[in-house]
């Protein structure tokens, strides 16, 4: 009987767990590996399609989970294939006036503009040798892990680029810079958003770790030496980042190495973003759209008999600024 793999099949969950290096019962793992080997040992079009389906479902699930953080930072819309996402951007609207009794109140109306985003594709095309998959030398979990990681990295780098490109010509308090992390420059930017109800500070560890040094107080005016709370020092040593600063949550962005042969990192190491948490999701300037789920196409290359799966996720990100950006960026201008 032909094997059919569905989105909620047990093997998809096992493949996801295996790709994420989670603990799996060895018997369950063995059964899953055997199923893939069985499919690969008879590489008819249906079996190859089923393996591609497995990779697609697993990659889709991992990407969805790992890009969940965007729901906190951005206005995220997930639409079906062929649908267009429309974002409402609030403009200066209804105003109230204090005036003399009986005076004419100026008319104002609730205003917004609608922004539509066309999607792009983030795509990966892993090649697998079908013979290696049959004899267990190639592992589907590795393909799932690498493909989802690379697709996530490409998406995250694109989103960060959108953020940096938009914010780098704003004025205070939405943009600030300094020769290092300067408390008196960063604090007003953080306080600007904390004042509205709360904020998240996120960035590369090089910047987030420096925040601990801003927490000191000069208690002894004679020596002028900075004093730090013991728990901050412990937290810094244990996690390299403190959990909160001026009541804003500090989040370290994982920064993978670029796959271009250089020692460069994917995200800008010198930027900190401050995002308010208390505003309505629709007011967030970063708009992200996902069109459909990850989809796969597979083909066998007749020249070298290699088998490839093309994975695509349609998405896009943009900044739409209404009344104000509702986001701040601190750029560290120190060298090194």
């Amino acid at each position: 009987m032909a094997i059919q793999i569905y989105k909620d099949s047990e093997i998809v969950n096992v493949a996801i767990a295996e790709a994420r290096k989670e603990r799996i019962d060895s018997a369950v793992r063995e059964n899953a590996d055997k199923l893939i080997r069985d499919l690969a040992s008879d590489p008819n079009p249906n079996n190859k399609y089923q393996i591609a389906q497995l990779v697609k479902f697993a990659v889709n699930d991992i990407i969805k989970r790992d890009t969940n953080y965007l729901d906190v930072l951005a206005d995220v819309k997930r639409v079906g294939f062929g649908d267009k996402a429309e974002f409402d951007v609030k403009l200066p609207g209804i105003k109230a006036f204090i005036q003399a009794k009986g005076a004419t109140t100026p008319r104002t109306k609730n205003a917004h503009k609608t922004v539509s985003l066309e999607t792009l594709s983030v795509s990966a095309r892993p090649v697998i040798n079908i013979v290696e998959l049959q004899n267990g030398l190639a592992n589907a979990a590795d393909v799932i892990n690498d493909a989802s990681f690379q697709m996530e990295c490409a998406m995250n780098a694109f989103i960060e680029n959108v953020l940096v490109n938009a914010a780098d010509d704003w004025g205070s308090p939405y943009y600030g810079t300094g020769s290092g992390l300067v408390k008196s420059t960063l604090d007003p930017m953080v306080m600007h958003w904390v004042r509205t109800g709360g904020a998240i500070i996120f960035g590369d560890i090089g910047e987030t770790t420096g925040i601990a040094q801003l927490t000191g107080f000069v208690a002894n005016s004679t020596s002028g030496a900075m004093q730090f709370a013991g728990n901050i020092i412990n937290e810094q040593n244990q996690n390299a980042v403190i959990g909160t600063y001026l009541s804003a949550q500090v989040v370290q962005l994982l920064n993978p190495l670029k796959e271009d042969g250089t020692d460069g990192f994917l995200f800008d190491k010198k930027k900190l973003f401050i995002v308010p948490t208390s505003i309505d999701a629709g007011m967030r300037p970063l708009k992200v759209v996902f069109e459909g789920d990850v989809f796969s196409t597979e083909a066998t290359n007749i020249d070298d008999l290699s088998w490839e799966i093309r994975l695509d996720q349609y998405f896009n990100a943009a900044i739409a600024k209404g009344v104000r950006p509702y986001l701040s960026m601190y750029a560290d201008s120190s060298v090194g």
Binding site: D168, S179, G180, S184, T185, S333
Partner: protein
């Protein structure tokens, strides 16, 4: 003698500096200034890009001396130009404009300044295309 001089922040955003003399940092508010010594200027030049990129500038003749030290041609470097200077550059032909825009790394806020000035001028299509290519973030065709 380590004479103090005025370090201006001509930008619309705040800029912080940390020097051995200001270990806890000083915030220079937009369009404001702070007083620094030559040692601090040397330190900032060695540890940050704030002076080289024109984000912070010394007042008067001192800035010219500093630019000479850094090998910066302030007459042609967009990062050090006023709206009037930018207008003059935008008045040249498309090839000159392209050469100028590609000659230096232009700060993003200066790009915004150039875009703002360009939109007030009646530029020909060739120049608009050059600007659009260099600054895709701004719409010069509207």
């Amino acid at each position: 003698m380590n004479e103090k001089m005025r370090l201006n922040n001509p930008k619309d955003y705040a800029v912080g500096i940390i020097t051995p003399e200001k270990p806890y940092g000083v915030n220079i508010l937009p369009h404001s200034f702070t007083m620094v010594t030559q040692d601090e200027i040397d330190y900032l030049m060695a540890t940050s890009t704030l002076l080289q990129s024109g984000v912070l500038r010394l007042a008067g003749e001192k800035q010219k001396e500093l630019a000479d030290t850094m090998g910066i041609d302030m007459e042609n470097n967009a990062n050090f130009m006023s709206d009037e200077d930018i207008k003059k550059k935008l008045s040249g032909n498309a090839n000159q404009l392209k050469k100028w825009l590609n000659s230096e790394e232009i700060n993003p806020d200066v790009m915004a300044q150039i875009a703002k000035v360009a939109k007030t001028m009646n530029l020909n299509m060739n120049k608009i295309q050059v600007l659009q290519e260099k600054m895709p973030k701004y719409n010069f065709f509207e």
